[in-house]
């Protein structure tokens, strides 16, 4: 069993127009820049993207939005050091925005992967984010009901991956990546290093291979923060 592929292109090109795509990362940390750039090269349009943020500068998710490929963004925090691209698209009504509190976003994704269609949370009760959502009391405290979130594709970034798809992450670059891997029909992962099965201690696997469909080695991945400091623009 070997789920590795040589280049992002050969697997990214299966993503059709209109797909829902989860993109890992929190800001630039853990963002699968090379996979996102392959998605720009591929050109799929009318995407719904799930990410914590809305991109920064003119690379990665910001570049995907700048290319007009994203119809809707589901995120918790569409602000960043340089959110120009998203802000312009949003103000021009070129992109729809669904704001989800960060913990609710994480749990909706986990539930999507774990087969739980709905759950109750105290988060956002009594706020405008809760408008229209069912409310119920448990032990005298009010909660709102939230629904799972699933995707057609997840693009995630890890550190080491084996040929079965078992993966580790690097420090805070873990963030949304492991849960997004579980919530998509097809998960495409980039890792800095591919090893043979057995190359990761079974105790240290964070994402078991069952959640990963395609694995590509990007030996020296770009770091969004550094690209932006260099004022990089993609493509």
């Amino acid at each position: 069993m070997d789920i590795t592929v040589a280049t992002p292109r050969e697997v990214i090109q299966q993503i059709p127009d209109g797909a829902t795509v989860m993109i890992g990362g929190f800001g630039g940390s853990g963002a699968p820049i090379e996979l996102v750039h392959a998605l720009i090269d591929h050109g799929a349009k009318h995407l719904t993207v799930v990410n914590n943020n809305a991109g920064n500068g003119h690379v990665g998710l910001a570049a995907l939005i700048e290319q007009g490929q994203v119809d809707k963004l589901i995120c918790s925090f569409p602000r960043s050091a340089d959110p120009t691209v998203f802000v312009e698209a949003y103000k021009a009504n070129k992109i729809a925005l669904e704001i989800v509190p960060q913990g609710t976003l994480a749990e909706r994704i986990r539930c999507g992967g774990a087969g739980i269609p709905a759950f109750y949370t105290p988060t956002a009760y009594g706020t405008e984010v809760a408008e229209g959502k069912p409310v119920e009391e448990f032990e005298g405290r009010p909660y709102i009901r939230e629904r799972w979130l699933k995707a057609d594709y997840a693009l995630i970034k890890g550190d080491v991956g084996d040929r079965h798809g078992n993966m580790t992450y690097r420090m805070a670059a873990r963030n949304f990546n492991p849960i997004m891997a579980t919530a998509a029909k097809v998960t495409i992962a980039q890792v800095s290093r591919v090893v043979d099965a057995g190359g990761i201690d079974p105790e240290h696997v964070v994402t078991p291979g069952i959640f990963v469909n395609h694995l590509v080695e990007i030996a020296n991945p770009a770091q969004e923060e550094e690209l932006n400091r260099a004022e990089a623009v993609y493509p």
Binding site: P78, A172, P178
Partner: protein, 229 residues
Amino acid sequence: MIDISDIKLSNAQIAWRAAQDIQDGAYVNLGIGFPEMVASYQPEGREVIFHTENGVLGFGAAPAPGEEDWDLINAGKKAITQKPGTSFFHHADSFAMVRGGHLDVAILGAYQIAQNGDLANWSTGKGGIPAVGGAMDLVQSAKRVAVVTDHITKKGDPKLVESCTMPLTGVGCVTRIYSSLAVVDIANNRFVLREKIPAISLDDLQALTGAELYTNEGVDDLICPEDLL
């Protein structure tokens, strides 16, 4: 109305005061920006463990410039460091800690705080782009939710109000306010004044506050180190 610009506490002094209330061994989340300053003023001999929403517990201070590793950042996307006892985990686990009530203290900024504990700090409600992040989770679930804030807005309007006019972050969640003029608790749907800076009179403080300040449990002087500016 009284001009408080010369007597009010600096942000560093407010942060210092908030830090004094954090117990040894507490698990604490500090909001992005001003609240992060609280970490700088932990009293000697207390070990506090900081949580950041993006999946790190027990992290260390900012690295020296040039030493940043951008895979190791906090919720404000600033570089942080590891130290003995650090752990990493994914976002669902991070918010299981938050929502599950495992954090002892969350300290956030505020646009408005109502006397029933409602907090508005995520959206001015005036258009622009809303961005909630993890605040709604934190305020609803940390064991203790406190606010560090100027007592009034730049225009001079009270931030402590009868009821919030801006979009809420959470309902009935704040229990203590560390402002630039006072320490105010929220109990039984009212503001209970605990401490005020000596330079302001009770009447003037009340005039700068949007709802009644209860003082019947005694008001102490709020004294902070003077060199924190």
